[in-house]
Symmetry: C2
Subunit: 680 residues, 2 copies
């Protein structure tokens, strides 16, 4: 009861003089009597935002404690970043253990939010606890009851809680007074310990030594597609079905029903801008192109325009608008490439020579990403004469396409452009559309990759493409789903890209394609397929992880329903992802024991277990693999010899598993994966 201040006294002796700065420090420190520390998640001390999507729980944990032995309480306060903290919402913290507390909130609209924590000494809870102990020991006196009435009187006058709470507290006080007048100590005690009193004093009780975490921790809330999406990548110019005819947006429109059948939700195009002719690349990246070779779409810019123009052979802006609209009708959002680089023919080179690095001989150095060379490309720079003008120009290009209906951007090589540029540009675009999504194509060092997530990228290409063994998949996924990066970096598991024809797929045959699909679509929130994968295309440039006859340098034509395609597998996984809520929570991933190093066995689930999936994937494309595995009965509160129903979702059978250890077998030719849904 140390702060009830029932009997305030006056000093009878003057205190000593003191300096103003010493007093200012004293008062500032005294404000925060309750310690609030170890706050998670908070990225780099609040320098960067924690990421969530609409509806996804944010659980905040903190160490919260005070000197002495009194009870404390705490609340999470949060609100949109542009709303004054005094008007934020509040939700209670719950004690976990060892001075650790936790609170969970969700956000229902995309945009920037912030949160903080308040904590206080809860004198009423302390009273309840001490009074009970004293009463149990037969030592409760009138003093404690007087103190209780005082607590209620102060709460009634605190201004906290609703009007009903204030009225309720006033009435509670009156009832206590009446009981006191009657000398009914038991009655007062019982009333002060009642649920009603607990509820009223929680709502309106004075918050003694109210302390506040100094940080206002930023949270960025995305629309769900930022964390849960299935991408399909095509070169529009290869969609005519005829290698001799440049594809058009109308050709893409004609392909939409067929793509829709596979169940993707994002349709992504490499650059669709005019292509330069200087140092144009020929087939297979040759430096000796034929006249009719289309060149690499990454050599952006020609007399027909630059990053805000369309390649004339693809169609007009009207065609493009129609494509966006038609794609939407087929459940597909269009994503385009944002590749900040220029063909030597790009209009910028004449209009903005200050954006380029001119060498003493009057040339501009072409792009390199050792050992790769890009003779048809020059890079801009971002500082000196280019600061800030190119920052604006690039932002405005993104805004231009946003205005054309594109809300998803796959960004080429972002790690070779300054982090501050991305942080600023993405923030600027989000002011216009908080639903804009940026995918970072940065196959680079781990910390660089993570930094791009911190500065704002919604999704990131990952190392998945090169993780094939069971142990490395488990290790990598455990990092991605459980370490701090899970709060700011969302991987997108591409099974292949125009730049990456994985070694594994070059030798795995069709079973390996199904295996990698099952891994990407089953493990990740975001995953992607570059077209041709469904046809098990694998021919490499010999000795390299590149595709022979790459679409980057020539127009291709494919029979999208060729024998041996795995469209059914793709459709199955995309349907599963849409039907089962478990698939939407990347972080619910858990690995379980399967006693075979060639079988990856993992689960995904909703918190309430209403959607609980188990996946088994045979990593060996050449041999049958199987063995015993552990059914996570414990997650359902079942004993090791318990019984659970497992529906083989593909096979359709419903099995009954009794006991924790079961066995299964996966034939790569037949079906290299299995998916079970568990129900009690």
């Amino acid at each position: 009861m140390a702060d009830a201040d029932l009997q305030p006294k006056k000093s009878k002796k003057a205190v000593k003089a003191k300096s103003p700065e010493s007093e200012a420090l004293l008062l500032a420190l005294a404000e925060n009597r309750v310690a609030i520390e170890g706050v998670e998640p908070e990225i780099d001390g609040g320098r960067f935002a924690v990421k969530r999507v609409v509806g996804e729980p944010l659980t905040v944990e903190a160490d919260i404690f005070c000197d002495g032995h009194d009870e404390i309480d705490a609340a999470l306060i949060y609100g949109p970043a542009d709303v004054d903290p005094s008007k934020w919402s509040e939700t209670s913290f719950e004690f976990v253990e060892n001075d650790r507390w936790a609170a969970t909130v969700t956000f229902d609209r995309p945009g920037p939010y912030r949160y903080s924590i308040i904590a206080w000494r809860d004198l009423y809870a302390t009273w309840r606890d001490e009074a009970k102990k004293k009463r149990d020991a037969g030592k409760l006196t009138d003093l404690e009851l007087i103190e209780a009435r005082e607590l209620v009187t102060k709460a009634a006058g605190s201004g906290r809680g609703s009007k009903a709470d204030q009225r309720g507290l006033a009435k509670l006080g009156e009832r206590l007074e009446k009981l006191a007048e009657k000398g009914d100590a038991d009655g007062q005690y019982a009333l002060m310990q009642s649920d009603e009193a607990v509820s009223l004093l929680h709502a309106g009780g004075v918050r003694t030594n109210l302390s506040r975490y100094p940080g206002n921790v930023p949270v960025w809330v995305d629309r769900e597609r930022a964390a849960f999406s299935a991408w399909y990548e095509i070169f529009p110019r290869s969609q005519s079905g005829d290698v001799n005819r440049h594809g058009t947006f109308d050709d893409v429109i004609a392909r939409l029903p067929d793509i829709q059948k596979m169940g993707f939700d994002v349709l992504y195009f490499p650059p669709i801008h005019p292509i330069g002719s200087t140092n144009k690349k020929g087939k297979n990246n040759s430096l000796t192109p034929a006249q009719e070779d289309p060149g690499s779409p990454y050599a952006i810019g020609s007399k027909d325009g630059g990053h805000d123009a369309l390649h004339p052979e693809l169609g007009s802006f009207d065609d493009f608008a129609r494509l966006i609209e038609e794609a939407g009708k087929h459940g597909l959002e269009i994503a385009i490439d944002f590749a900040i680089q220029c063909s030597p023919d790009h209009p910028w080179i004449k209009e903005h020579p200050e954006w380029f690095d001119w060498r003493p001989d009057g040339t501009i150095k072409f792009a390199e990403n050792p050992p790769k060379k890009y003779e048809d490309i020059v890079n801009v720079h971002f500082y000196r004469g280019a600061l800030p003008s190119i920052w604006y120009e690039l932002r405005d290009i993104v805004l231009f396409w946003l205005n054309k209906g594109v809300r998803i951007f796959r960004v080429d090589n972002p790690h070779t452009k300054p982090f501050p540029f991305w942080e600023w540009m993405i923030a600027e675009v989000r002011k216009v559309d908080p639903g804009a999504i940026f995918l970072a194509e940065a196959f680079t060092r781990p910390k660089v990759m993570k930094r791009l997530g911190k500065v704002g990228y919604n999704q990131s290409y990952s190392y998945f493409t090169w993780r094939n063994a069971k142990w490395e998949l488990a290790e990598y996924l455990t990092e991605l789903t459980t370490e701090e990066c899970a709060d700011y970096m969302r991987p997108n598991f591409f099974v292949n890209t125009p730049d990456i024809n994985p070694l594994y797929l070059q030798t795995s045959g069709r079973p390996g394609f199904r295996t990698r699909l099952a891994l990407a679509a089953g493990l990740a929130g975001n995953y992607g397929v570059y077209s041709g994968f469904e046809l098990c295309e694998f021919l490499p440039v010999p000795g390299k992880e590149e595709y022979l006859n790459s679409e980057k340098y020539e127009i291709r034509a494919f029979d999208w329903h060729a024998e041996g395609n795995i469209r059914d597998d793709i459709a199955f996984f995309n349907r599963l992802r849409n039907d089962e809520a478990a698939m939407r929570d990347f972080r619910s991933l858990a690995f379980f024991n399967f006693w075979n190093d060639q079988v990856l066995y993992f689960g995904k689930r909703t918190k309430d277990l209403s959607s609980y999936l188990l996946f088994m994937v045979n990593l060996d494309p050449h041999h049958d693999q199987g063995g015993h595995f552990e059914v996570p009965l414990w997650e359902f509160g079942l004993p090791d010899d318990g019984t659970i129903r497992a529906t083989d979702i593909l096979g359709g059978d419903t099995l009954t598993w009794t006991g924790k250890v079961q066995h299964w077998w996966l034939n790569p030719q037949d079906r290299p994966y299995a998916v079970f849904k568990l129900t009690r």
Copy 2:
């Protein structure tokens, strides 16, 4: 070479309009192109200071990286907290691995410091790297050499480095020009790759995109005794040698030579203030004292004065001054108790009733620390009417004793007083004496204990007293020496205290006392002994971890050289601690394998291995224990079958150990510990 800006160009097209706030954000972000993150050590984002002592290395690590592929460099900048950062010192970071860099500094005076990190793109290093690759491929051209000369010209005009560096750079430029005039490409290349050029451009080269970590991380530097001390605790009133005569400061002075022989460096007294008579405690904490009982010294305050007075029977302030001086001559610093609590007779109660919690019946609640009750004590509070006056009063009491020559304060129960008070008070005292040392007596929850270290305590009582098993000692010490808390919390391992008569010692006999001494003195930087321990005093209040006939409630007399004392062991360890530099670095502690769960086996060392000690301690006071153990030959770069010399410091023999596995035996009666010094 992206920033050499050799051929600046002007824009030929206007850039778009933009908002001032957008531009401000752009420019602010652009300032820090190089990412600097993951900075360690930094406590709670710089909210609290990292602790070091004079001469102790501070190694700062950080992830430092930039976009693109250019070389970067970084420096640690640091200086006294009151010096403007522009005038700080600078030391180079070295690359470690995976974008991690490290730099080490030491501080030569106690006080507050700060550090930060700067990093930049190193165009010269990039040039060196690229030019070498091109030359090796036979592709170095005049362009690269022109760029090199430009780098030197800019460095010569940068204003960085000494005047000699600037002159050297100017000359380097001239030599390059001359070589260029002669068309000597090889000569220019060789000169630009020379050590001379590396050194000059390191000193004077332009720091492109100079970026700065935003934090100025606080570091508190103590004098060495804060981290390395051996405490001996006595009740001055028990130093007369006669239970019927109250000891005096002069009696303590007479004891100094004998205490000095044991080699301690801090002599600590429980409160030496006037003791109240209201509710005075009798022998063995009874509530029925005899007239002549002295009362607990923790019941501070009587008509003779309060916290700034001396208990009259101990002596005068002149006597106390003499004691401080004499103690100094015997290598002992005096530490006193700072116990913020009052006997009901304390003058404050009348002078400052606003500092106490008055109950409705006009009484003040007495102190409790359930289940312990302190009927002779009332507590002050720190808020409401006591804010800020009691804060000043308490600060001034510490300053009062500082003025009397006391620089070390053992603080009683700091966890029941507000953290902000400690943070403010300790900061205030340090302004007067940066060598003041505060030891927190807080046997409480782990996070509370750690918080006291964060807010400024130099030393902390620890859980050592209750860690007896091998696994729990290893686990606890590993936490203390390797986790983040090692940067702000320094444990003081007391083997016993007037409040704690450990169960282990109640049944261990003399061997157990020697074991616990070896553990405390061998493991910790700071350790302490409450007198009586050296006599193997163990009689408990039955069933409790308290001493029977505790000095807290009565005057005792001891025969300090009684048969069976372990003064020689104490003297040995204190001598070892002073002689061997390894003992001064608590964090150099490492545990090694001894294949016996009753033998704790650990090492301490200096970085250069010139002081390398191995300790073996038999934890079982009743049986011989021994077995095979691993000699850490690898730390000396020796193979598993290598040979090393081991001096048995107590026995005096020098052994030759060949091979990693050796064996040893410890007889608890003979000597339950062994200490070896390894030399190649």
